[in-house]
Every structure is written in structure tokens, then in C-alpha cells.
Symmetry: C2
């Protein structure tokens, strides 16, 4: 089940990937068995084990330089470099991560999340898709590239930067980039943490939304008040916060922060044409992407794909106020909290949107209520690649070789450190992924479709072969 | 500290109360040591102990008929009857309760809540004010009445009905009233579970608001959704619920349920005049009644006292949706819940308001969101006494004797079974209370001011003496 079409001499990379496929799955299962849950301090030792496993595997594969970066407060990242013997060859930096999401609710897994197992074409386990599977795909790609070309060093200088804190929002990535600026210097970043559009519609991602978030806390009195005593005579922070939340969007679903859309850049015509050509089945999209939501909804005048890819949002992620246990407690709550996050699109900036939020909250805080805005982290800026850049065109060519289908451009509505890598390293970022939106990342029963990882590895191997010429 | 002015022959009831005061405090402390927390099944045995204690005390005091009603699912109520030897004497039913509120957060008590202690004029302990202190006050009043008049039976037939589930919303009171309709038959209910307006402004309560409540649950998908995946493309139940909550009130604070104010009866001119004459210090009111709220607020066109006494409200008691832990989780929540309760005024009816709520929720549920309204219990109807009824005038006379100050009429914004007693027994209800709004009932460090209980006992004793003549 793990073999691509074998023995195809017109496709040397495919042949090489095929020969390595069984070992690839065996090795990946070994890595997936390590519960590297970065968000849980009880599993930090496992994040270290995961880094050690990856470093040892890279050394065994022949990578000449392999380092575990575990100084400072960050969970360990793995860095490796395999220089091309051609001093003129471009340098690419492959980005991925080896930390994984928590597994709650663990009772909804059909099989233990860290006892990875294969069923048909699927490999199940936490991290199979996000992101160990895709990092392992790159290890396989480099081996296949060397085998297919008969080279002893890659045709491009390949650097690998596998972070250990992505699922925690990459809180220390700026320090890592600063400390290792020379190590990470490159001509191109290949970002490997995004999915294809769907199995029968392979796509190349060209951008991610940014994100920034925090919480709004409204406080009335210093303690909850019996509503028979004072109800009707004092501000209710829960009601006040609800009124603020209601004012966040107009009736057309447009976000009402002052100036929120001022910096938004529309997507290119080429991308829009590609999106219009993608199959879209609303019921299937809701089932696979939207947790069984019963209908689409959102900003008027945009399609669902546009809403989740290139339109910014304001989402309430959580609400808490007063009494939430069984039955009823007739109080006026002392306080109310809303967790809120914004997905951002180019060229919005997290720090600007935060200022807009503070202004909005100030304007919507009624007398007798005290408001606080707590920000969580620095957020992630949005990023969109130039789809006409030679690297993206080369990637497109490599995908069409591997997938043997028309390949289109797409985006993803999620966020990641692509924009940061772009800003700090000063080079373009392209996205190379081969997972699926319905891999249940961050959810029970995460899986990856192995034949797609093999195609992804083939595409990467082809890319390493053709990239120097395409960039010249 | 526990003595009223002693040896005053113009005030035989005061003299009698004074002579019994020390024993009264000793006995009340014994009762307060029993943690009869009705809401906590772990304390149900204590509710039984509390009932047994009360029944034994009543028997010792000479009440000829004493029963503990503990058949059926209700926590035990205590019933007692002391018939007058005058067959023409009116029958009064004194209502109170012996269950108490939970004590959380127990760490904020300066002294253990069930180790009652006296400090100056105050007696501290859970239940001291709400409602054991006031029930004990009536036991004292009957003894003082007999001592002051030299009678061996009271001048009115006195029945005592001390419920064990008031703090749980009296869920079985209808069954009790039904089962014991003959036992409870009377000409007047004296309801003893409300406070004075303030220490220097003694008042007679003439009404309570009603209450009905439940929760509104909005559901979108079957699970939370990653906001990078679907955010902007699906309905957000938290946002949708906030928009519903925001629509509950207009900008003037008026509740927007259809027909909400249709049945509201304004208070009498006499009461309004009395309220205007009451001292009102906003800062003190906020500190004592409103948990340190920073400002008053509410329906335009009404004073704070009117807002909390005779205007109906819609209060959000709790909100819960999505992620509420530390940090941020960028999800579109699957569901959102609001706990909501309404304080009602005559002649609103709980079941009518519930129908209005259902209609309102239906109208404010957006496409793709499923709404449910869960109701908690039957609620309590509002009640207002006729301030010109001879029983209220007699009560007013008795209060002025005891307090030696002008006594005015007031209301309370809380709720209780007064309207039910009125409806089931078919007789007027008057309120006889001697506690204070800042007794911290339902909160840590509950206390009662002992000299006020003694004045209340004196007022009750005077009432028993004068009532037959005033009602004739």
C-alpha cells in the first residue's frame, strides 16, 4: 500500500521514493510514538526526545551538519544543513515543526494517539499530518533526490529548521531567528505545514492568514450580586460585553473595528481564477472543515473560500461570566470575559489591529464597567507569496510531475510563522505540503494519507533537481 | 448587649423580650451550628437535624402541636400550631425557612460559618439573618406575647410553617401546600424572610418581585472548529448569542421581549410617597447592595429603588462558550450558553414571560444555529400586598411601638413563595422582618443585628395582641 507506481524510468524521483517507501513508514511510526506535546509541561521531556530522535535520524541519513538548538527558554528545535557541492547553488531553508497538539478528548480516539498504526492508505497518530509526517517527507525527498540524480550532495544547499514550539504559537522564534541568523541564511524558504485543497484537487498554498488575539474583561462590582437585591439597578458586565460583541460586526458580517479593512490587499486575479476552478461542495466542506456546522455564513459579497482564505475575521473563541454550573443562580455577575482572535490578511498588521481593538473596546465600555484588554503573545502577521515568482513556478512544475494532474494555487485560512521567516530572513517563502484538510489535525484520530506524502516527497525531490536552473 | 430597654411597663412586650434575650441568643447559636445547606446533598442529614432541633425547641416552648413534614421528596419542613383559646380569634400562618445557603467561598469567612459567635451587637454565622434568626425571632415573640399578656394561649391562633427548601427555590412547596391544605388554613400569612430598609429607617415590606429563569443554548457545529480552517465562513454561536443578548434591551434599558410590560401594574401613590421619603445614598447603596458596583444603571425614567423594587428585569446570570482556560485557543465554538433570569413584578406571570422569551429567541436565532431554551423550575410569581389592608395597618402600628420611629412601607427586589402562599391559601400576605440589607445573606460573614431581632420580636408580640381587634 505504501508504494507509488514503481520502476518508472521517466520519473526517477518516483522510482527512488517508491524504493524507500516502506522504510519511510516504519521510521515515521517510530517518531510518531514520541508524545511531543509542547503545550503540556509534563511532555516537555518528550519534546526533547523527539528532537534527539530527529537529529539521530538525520545523521544516519548522512546530513553533514545536524544540531539540536535547546539553549534558552524555547523547546528544542532541530537544525541541519546539507551543502551542495556546487558553490553557486541556491540555498533553501525547509521549515517544519516536531511538536504536536494535545490529544484531548483522548477517549474519542479509536486507537491510542501515540501508538501509530496503518489502515489501508492511512497512517493514524497524533502528528501524522501536523507536522511530523511532512517533515519526514522532506527527509525522504532528500534521499530520493540523491538516489534519483546519482549525486552525493544535493543540487541545492538544503537547510532544515524544525521548530519545537509551533503549536504554542512559536513564542521564541524571534530569538531563534536572531541567534541563528547566519545559520538560517538562505535564498528561499520552503514552508511545510499546509495541506492540499483536496485529494483530487492538488494545490500549492500561496498564503496564510495572520492571527492576533487576547481577551476582553469587563468588571462591574468586586463580587457577584444577588439579582433580587440589585438586579435592574446596576450594570450587568455580561450584558455589556454581549453588546460589545454584537457591535463587532454589522448585519452584513463586516468587522466594525475602526480602520480594520484599510490595509487589506485583494488577492491577484490569477489566484481568483484558480479558486473559481476548484471544486466546492458546501455540505462536504462543512463536514470536513467546519465541525459539522449546519450552514455557511460570513461577510456579504464573498464566497466561502474567499471568506476563510483572504478575508479578515473577528472571532469570539470563548465566553465566560458568572454562574455556569447546573441549574440557575440569580446573580448579576461581577465580571465577564471574551476570548477574541482576529485572522488577518495582507497587509494587516497584528499591532495595528490591536490598537483598533483597544479603541473599539474603549468606545463600547458603558459607565460603571471597567474594561481591560489582555493580549496573548505577538500574534503572527499574514503572508502571501508572489505566485509569479520563479520559485513558485518551479514548485508548480514539480507538483504537476508528481501528481500528474492540473495543479492550482490555493490559500489556507490558518496562520504560521511564514511571514516572520520572510521578514527576518528577507527572502521569499513558498509552501510545499501534501496533507489534506480532513486529516483531523488538532482533533482526535489525526491521520495522514501515505501515498500523498510520497507524492509530496517526489515533488520536493523534483524541485531540488530543477530549482537551480529555474532560479538562474 | 442583648437587652432592649428593660423594665418599661408601658411596653410589656419589650420587657418580656428583654428578659428572654440572653436565652434567645444562646438558643439561636445552637441552631446556627447545624449546617442545614439544602443545596448540598452531603448536608441533607443536617437539614433533617435542623428540623428536629426546631421541633424539639417548639415542644419545649409549649407549642401543643408540632410536626416534622418529611414525607415525599421535599427536605423536611416543620409545622406547629398554638391555638388561641378564643374560638373567634383569627388564625395567622407564620412562614419562614430553616435551610441555609452554601458557604463558598469559605476562605473568605473571618470565622467558621457554623461556629456562630457574637461580636458587639452582631451575631455571625450562616443563617443568622436568612432565615433562622427571623424564625427564632417568632419563637421568642410568642413567648413574650404570653408573658406580656399573662395568657396561656396566644391571642390569635398561630401556625408556624418553616420550609426546608427555600434556598433551592421551594421546588416542592406546591405539593406541601396541597397535602396540608387543612393544616395550613388561615386568615393571614405573616411572611418572615425580608429585611428592613436600613437600621435607621425601619420599614415594612409590601412586596417581592417574582423570578423565572433558565438557559439559552445556541449550537452551531457538533464540535469546536479551528478558526484558521473555517473562521469567517461559518456562524459563530458565541457571537450569535451575544447579538441576541444585546437585543434583549434597548438603549434605554427597556426589555425587548414582545409584550413584556403589558401586565405590569404601577405601585400605589402611598408607597411611592414613602419611598421618596426614604434616605438614599448611592455610594452606600452600591457598597451594601451591589457588591461594590461602580455606578447605578438601568431602565430610563425610574429611580434606583424603583428599578430594583417595582420594575421587571432581564439579567444574564452566566455565559459560557468555547475555550475559557488560560491563554488563547483560536476556535469557533460549537455552542454557547447564556443563563438568564427575569425578575417580575405584579401582574406579570412567569409562564407568560417564558413564552415571550421563546418567541424572542426564535426571532433572534440566525440561520445555521440551533437554539434551545431550558427552563429551570416553575419560577415564583411576584406579589404585592395591599398597604391599606387592616393587617398591614396593624403591623405598621406594632412596628412603630417597637421601633419608636416613623415606619414606612418598602419593597424588596428578591423573590420568594409569598405569591404562592397567597394563591394557594387564598388569604392576604404581610411581611414581618427585622434584618438588614447589608447582613451579607448568601455571602461570607453573614450576620444579624441582635437588637433588631429583639425589636422584631416585640413588634410580632404586639401584633398578636392587637390583631384580633384590628381585623374585626
Amino acid at each position: 500500500m505504501c508504494s507509488a507506481v514503481a520502476g518508472d524510468s521517466r520519473h526517477p524521483e518516483r522510482e527512488a521514493v517508491s524504493a524507500l517507501a516502506d522504510d519511510f513508514v516504519t521510521e515515521l511510526r517510530e517518531w510518531l510514538a514520541i508524545p511531543s506535546i509542547g503545550a503540556d509541561p509534563a511532555h516537555h521531556a518528550d519534546v526533547h526526545r523527539s528532537a534527539t530522535w530527529l537529529a539521530a535520524t538525520l545523521r544516519r541519513d548522512g546530513w553533514p551538519r545536524v544540531e539540536v538548538w535547546d539553549a534558552g527558554p524555547a523547546l528544542p528545535a532541530v537544525f541541519a544543513c546539507w551543502p551542495s557541492d556546487d558553490p553557486e547553488a541556491p540555498t533553501v531553508l525547509v521549515y517544519g515543526h516536531h511538536d504536536v497538539q494535545p490529544v484531548d478528548p483522548v477517549e474519542r480516539w479509536h486507537h491510542p494517539p501515540f501508538d501509530p498504526y496503518v489502515q489501508g492508505e492511512e497512517l493514524f497518530g497524533r502528528g501524522a499530518s501536523d507536522d511530523k509526517g511532512q517533515v519526514a517527507m522532506h527527509l525522504l525527498a532528500v534521499k530520493a533526490h540523491l538516489a534519483a540524480t546519482g549525486r552525493t550532495t544535493p543540487n541545492v544547499t538544503i537547510k532544515l529548521f524544525v521548530e519545537g514550539e509551533e503549536e504554542s504559537g512559536s513564542p521564541h522564534i524571534r530569538e531563534l531567528l536572531d541567534t541563528h541568523r547566519d545559520d538560517l541564511a538562505c535564498d528561499l524558504v520552503v514552508f511545510t505545514d499546509t495541506p492540499l485543497y483536496e485529494r483530487d484537487a492538488p494545490t500549492i498554498c500561496t498564503g496564510q492568514r495572520g492571527v492576533i488575539g487576547g481577551e476582553i474583561v469587563f468588571t462591574g462590582g468586586s463580587s457577584d450580586v444577588h439579582s433580587g437585591r440589585a438586579g435592574g439597578g446596576v450594570p450587568n458586565p455580561a450584558t455589556a460585553l454581549a453588546r460589545l460583541v454584537a457591535a463587532l460586526h454589522d448585519d452584513e458580517g463586516r468587522v466594525q473595528l475602526p480602520g480594520f479593512y484599510d490595509d487589506v490587499v485583494p488577492p491577484s486575479d490569477l489566484e481568483r481564477q484558480d479558486w473559481a476552478a476548484l471544486p466546492f461542495d458546501e455540505a462536504a466542506w462543512l463536514a470536513h472543515n467546519a465541525g459539522g456546522a449546519q450552514a455557511t455564513a460570513g461577510e456579504a459579497g464573498w464566497s466561502t473560500l474567499e471568506r476563510v482564505w483572504v478575508r479578515p475575521t473577528a472571532e469570539i473563541n470563548g465566553l465566560h461570566s458568572g454562574y455556569t454550573g447546573p441549574g440557575l443562580k440569580t446573580i448579576v455577575p461581577a465580571s465577564a470575559t471574551a476570548k477574541i482572535s482576529f485572522r488577518l490578511v495582507p497587509d494587516q498588521r497584528p499591532e495595528v489591529v490591536l490598537e483598533q481593538l483597544r479603541e473599539f473596546v474603549g468606545k463600547h465600555t458603558p459607565p460603571g464597567v471597567h474594561a481591560e484588554v489582555h493580549v496573548r503573545g505577538d500574534g503572527a502577521p499574514p503572508y502571501a507569496a508572489d505566485v509569479t515568482h520563479p520559485a513558485n513556478l518551479a514548485l508548480h512544475e514539480a507538483y504537476e510531475v508528481a501528481f500528474e494532474q492540473p495543479v492550482r494555487f490555493s490559500r489556507t485560512g490558518g496562520s504560521g510563522p511564514a511571514a516572520l521567516l520572510h521578514a527576518w530572513l528577507g527572502v521569499p517563502v513558498v509552501y510545499l505540503g501534501a496533507t489534506l484538510p480532513d486529516d483531523r489535525i488538532h482533533a482526535p484520530n489525526e491521520r495522514v494519507v501515505v501515498p500523498l506524502l510520497l507524492k509530496g516527497a517526489e515533488a520536493a525531490a523534483v524541485l531540488w533537481r530543477i530549482l537551480p536552473e529555474r532560479l538562474s
